[in-house]
């Protein structure tokens, strides 16, 4: 499927089939979660990243079903490139109304970057000035988990992590996604 077609599909679903909520509600709710995690783990940002990823993973496991239902997807993507386009132009579009750019492919077509020009989670956010958060906390790390969980359900094992974030003073917010392998169908247990 061409990436133009993916954009059209995303746009169409967003307009006709999605219930909208106030962005600030999303931003503030997500912020509250991150703040609570920082408190719970005593500002151990490595651990906060890990917890956000785990929460995202659990969201992804379910969100994929809503994605498949809303987008009326009947077939698997035929390539990882198509998968990337559908994630950016349909997935992110219908759930967050953003379309990150898909870019920086490796030659083997197994790794790409999502570059976020906008990120509703990070509106109004300033990382704490404690000398560590700027280096260690990946504020939107929940998104990595969401992708990992959602793709696992459609039999792709991926690894996802942020490599830059405007909150840390970088020029862009960029997530790197790598396909590790396609997961085989599970077989029924042998009869005794």
């Amino acid at each position: 499927m061409s990436s133009n077609k993916a954009s059209r599909i995303g746009e169409e679903i967003w307009k006709t089939r999605i219930d909208k909520v106030n962005t600030e509600l999303v931003t503030l709710t997500y912020g509250t979660i991150v703040v609570q995690l920082c408190k719970d783990y005593d500002n151990d940002y490595e651990e906060v990243n890990k917890q956000l990823d785990k929460m995202g993973y659990n969201i992804g496991l379910r969100l994929i079903e809503d994605y498949l239902a809303k987008s009326n997807t009947m077939k698997r993507c035929t390539s990882f490139r198509e998968t990337a386009d559908m994630i950016a132009k349909v997935g992110f579009k219908i759930f967050l109304n953003i379309t990150p750019q898909v870019t920086n492919w490796t030659n083997d077509n197994n790794q790409f970057s999502l570059v976020f020009d906008e990120n509703p989670f990070a509106d109004f956010v300033e990382l704490p000035d404690d000398g560590r958060a700027q280096d260690e906390l990946w504020y939107s790390n929940i998104l990595c988990g969401v992708l990992r969980g959602a793709l696992e359900m459609v039999q792709m094992q991926v690894e996802a992590h942020f490599i830059s974030d405007v909150l840390k003073g970088n020029d862009t917010t960029e997530m790197r996604v790598s396909l590790l392998r396609y997961i085989d169908d599970e077989l029924p247990p042998e009869d005794d």
């Binding site: 994929i64 079903e65 809503d66 498949l68 009326n72 997807t73 077939k75 359900m153 599970e186 029924p188």
Partner: protein, 149 residues
């Protein structure tokens, strides 16, 4: 059109939901030809084995994109729909019924996703059918199927 029964199998090949619309006596008769009457869970295993083999065979012959849709015997027709997340829906109907692929897809979108997946308290994995048998899902399914008949 008559719907006999309906099954859902998860990606771990387990039967997580089964429902029959046959009167109890009839369904006994239906499967009691061999000396040992088969139990509901044996039926489910047999059905899964059948659709899984057929699905794999269809893909081998027709390519990855080819979908196994239904088969028919002298007594019933079996309809199959599999989501990209490997959730499999199976329905047995009488032989005269048209394709139910769309119906199975609707059950997935309007009942499964709405009432099972979106229930925050239902588990993600439905081991032994946990979380599937909730009232909204069952009522919705029953209404939807009876509306077709």
């Amino acid at each position: 059109m008559v719907v006999y029964s309906f099954y859902i199998f998860d990606r771990h090949t387990e039967c997580i939901y089964a429902r029959s619309w046959l009167p109890q006596s009839l369904s006994q008769h239906h499967s009691s030809a061999p000396l040992q009457p088969s139990t509901a869970s044996d039926d489910a295993k047999l059905i899964f084995g059948t659709v899984f083999s057929l699905r794999n065979m269809v893909r081998k012959l027709g390519g990855e994109d080819d979908a196994f849709i239904s088969y028919r015997t002298g007594n019933y027709k079996m309809h199959f729909y599999e989501t990209p997340a490997n959730l499999r829906f199976v329905m047995l109907t009488d032989t005269g019924t048209m394709s139910m692929r769309n119906v199975l897809h609707q059950i997935y979108i309007n009942l499964w996703v709405e009432y099972v997946v979106k229930n925050p308290l239902a588990p993600v994995e439905h081991k032994n059918g946990a979380g599937v048998k909730n009232e909204l899902f069952e009522l919705g399914l029953d209404q939807f199927i009876r509306g077709l008949m």
